[in-house]
């Protein structure tokens, strides 16, 4: 993930914050809903209150059965309807449209039923008057005595009592009693025509009463339904409020728990996520301080620590390089110091040897000359006894002097330089210079000199004088080895691949070196020249010099055809001990 540290921080903080906000919002929404539901409960309770008011008036109306109470009831119903219409459409929808439509329908039904009941009550009162009138006439008729004997006055009076009871109680008992009386009256009708209107009017009244009863039942049912609807709504909303109230603390608790657990978790995770690369850097610095410079910071995140790790690694690269070059320098320094010490040792040893050799050499030379002089003198004088013995003794002294001479010369050989003063040398011009020294010899011996130079050779860093000495010796040997021949000097690189070693070959057309002594030519005091012509040290010194300059020398030769010396010279001389 390519997240910056501040992105990570925002995420780490945002998640717990989001949880907190979510909890808060949920609580707010719930509380708001609860408040709203409380409003609904109030509305429902109000309606229920009014319905109860209507019911009270209904009872009054049923009791008094007059217009006055009927009007009061109607007014109350109108009031209920009016209140109902003030409730907003939104509230109606939220509480439940079907509740309201049922409520309205029931109100309407209630209203119609109350009207019907009132109408019935009016008919009842007319019918009641009629019954009373007919009763009074029948009573008067019975009292007048013009009726048949089957109709007794007592029965009529009894009937009237039953009639009054029924009007008063309107219950089943009084109705049953009245029915019984009416049944008896029915039996009397053939004997009493005057009984008929009364019986008819009573029957009518009974049927009206029954109708009223039914209507009243219906009205009460509707009233109950109204009460029930409002009660249901109120109960339902209350229940909702309760469930919300029960739920809210749980939500709050859950959010708190979530915050307490997830919050620290996310913060911890984010912190470790941010700190992880830094921690890794710290681990690496520890390892580095223990000396392991090969450590590098792993780059996993592309945040601000990315560039930190990058520059850290770059710094380490530099540090490691510096460390390595430092170690190399120290190693080089150590080597140089060793070489220097060795060189110094050799140099002082050389100086000492040279000093001693010099000191001995001069008296040695004197002894040599004195002995020589004695030899000369004795040799020139006439024979005398023991002359030969004397001469032999002198030869013995001369031999001893010679032995000493060898020793001192060897010691003086130490005087050769042990260090290499480095100059930049162009090998071609060096060879020209050297052959220049030998111009006269070459001219006198009418030797042809051929140069076969490669032009673009790298310059050599080496000791010029020693190199001159090397080629001087070889070329001088070549000159000594022939009369009117050819010397061909060739320069080039030793191999095509490398430009480290320069190869110089010096070919002559002299008498050549027999194969059996080729291996000896670089040995000290080995010479093919006549006694006294060569020291036997030339090629040995040359060999030593070439080796000391880090080069190599080899020879190829065929008798009577010529000799070629191959000299390899490193472009950069490094002093080596020989």
């Amino acid at each position: 993930m390519n997240l910056k540290i501040w992105h990570k921080m925002i995420i780490g903080i945002a998640i717990p914050s989001f949880i907190a906000i979510l909890g808060g919002v949920l609580t707010y929404v719930y509380i708001k809903d609860v408040k709203k539901r409380q409003g609904f409960v109030l509305i429902a309770d109000d309606l229920k209150e009014q319905v109860l008011e209507v019911r009270r008036n209904e009872k009054n109306f049923v009791h008094y059965k007059n217009k006055e109470h009927f009007d009061i009831l109607n007014t109350e119903i109108g009031q209920l309807e009016k209140n109902l219409s003030t409730i907003s459409e939104k509230t109606i929808n939220e509480i439940g449209e079907e509740n309201f439509s049922r409520f309205r329908k029931t109100i309407l039904e209630y209203f119609n039923l109350s009207n019907a009941l009132f109408e019935n009550y009016q008919n009842e009162s007319i019918s009641t008057e009629k019954v009373r009138e007919e009763g009074r006439e029948l009573e008067a008729f019975a009292v007048s005595g013009k009726h048949a004997f089957e109709l007794s006055t007592n029965f009529v009076l009894h009937l009237r009592i039953l009639e009054k009871n029924y009007m008063l109680y309107r219950d089943k008992k009084s109705l049953d009693a009245l029915h019984k009386g009416l049944a008896e009256l029915k039996n009397l009708i053939p004997f009493c025509n005057e009984c008929i209107p009364y019986a008819d009017s009573l029957h009518k009244l009974i049927s009206l009463y029954e109708k009223s009863g039914a209507a009243l039942n219906e009205l009460q049912g509707a009233g109950n339904a109204l009460e029930k609807i409002t009660g249901e709504v109120a109960d339902r909303e209350r229940q909702k409020i309760n469930s919300f109230l029960n739920l809210t603390p749980r939500i709050v608790l859950a959010v708190i728990l979530l915050l307490c657990t997830l919050g620290p978790f996310f913060v911890y995770e984010t912190a470790s996520y941010i700190v992880a690369p830094i921690k890794r850097l710290v681990d690496i610095t520890k390892k580095i301080s223990e000396g392991d410079l090969s450590q590098r910071a792993a780059i996993k995140e592309h945040d601000e620590t990315y560039s930190l790790a990058m520059s850290f690694n770059t710094m380490l690269d530099h540090l490691q390089l510096m460390h390595q070059s430092l170690e190399k320098s120290i190693e080089l320094l150590r080597k140089k110091q060793e070489q220097l010490v060795e060189a110094e040792k050799l140099a002082s040893l050389g100086k000492f040897a040279v000093g001693v050799a010099h000191e001995i050499n001069n008296p040695l030379a004197i002894i040599n000359e004195k002995t020589g002089l004695i030899k000369d003198v004795i040799g020139m004088s006439d024979d005398f006894p023991l002359k030969n013995k004397l001469l032999d003794t002198l030869v013995g002294i001369s031999d001893s002097v010679n032995r000493c001479r060898v020793i001192t010369h060897r010691l003086l050989g130490f005087a050769r330089r042990t260090d290499i003063p480095v100059e930049i040398i162009d090998i071609n011009s060096l060879l020209k210079e050297v052959t220049g020294f030998l111009e006269k010899d070459i001219f006198y011996k009418s030797i042809k000199l051929k140069f076969n130079f490669t032009d673009d050779l790298p310059p050599i860093e080496s000791d010029k004088i020693q190199l001159q000495q090397v080629f001087l010796n070889i070329i001088k040997n070549a000159i000594d080895a022939m009369e009117d021949g050819v010397i061909e000097i060739t320069t080039g690189m030793k191999s095509r691949e490398s430009r480290d070693i320069i190869m110089v070959s010096i070919r002559d057309t002299g008498h050549g070196i027999p194969e059996e002594i080729q291996k000896n030519i670089f040995e000290p005091f080995f010479t093919t020249k006549q006694k006294g012509k060569g020291t036997g040290l030339g090629l040995s010194i040359t060999y030593g010099l070439v080796k000391r300059l880090g080069g190599n020398i080899s020879v190829k030769s065929r008798v009577n055809e010529g000799t070629t010396f191959f000299v390899e010279i490193p472009v950069k001389a490094e002093a080596v001990k020989v």
Binding site: N368, E369, M380, N402, I465
Partner: protein, 126 residues
């Protein structure tokens, strides 16, 4: 035939005088001097054919003496006599003249050979 005039220049008096005597026994007109001044004096008055020159001398070195002598006796031959020869001296010597050299102690026959070769004469003793 005129004997070859040899001048030996060496601060070792015993060596120089003995060598001169031996050369004289061999028919050379040999003289010995021990310092630069004497060398110049003799070289000017009676120019020798050849100088036998020690390279290492107190005061002026053999090469310096040689160069000075060359100024007024340009054709003088020279053989260096030395304990040993330094490379630089050798190279320098080659530059100054077509010299020859011998390491001390010298073999008298070798020396006379070189002298004769240098002055272009056969040994007048042999």
């Amino acid at each position: 035939m005129k004997p070859v005039k040899v001048l030996i220049v060496d601060d070792e008096i015993e060596f120089a005088t003995t060598l001169a005597e031996r050369l004289r026994l061999r028919g050379y007109d040999a003289k010995a001097v021990y310092c630069a001044e004497d060398t110049f004096a003799i070289a000017k008055s009676d120019t020798p054919d050849i100088l036998l020159l020690d390279l290492r001398m107190p005061g002026m070195s053999g090469l310096e003496i040689l160069m000075t002598v060359r100024e007024f006796a340009p054709n003088i031959k020279v053989i260096l006599l030395t304990g040993h020869i330094d490379l630089e001296e050798k190279i320098e010597g080659i530059r100054i003249s077509n010299f020859d050299y011998l390491m001390k102690p010298v073999d008298i026959n070798e020396l006379t050979e070189k002298i004769d070769k240098a002055v272009g004469k056969q040994s007048n003793v042999g």
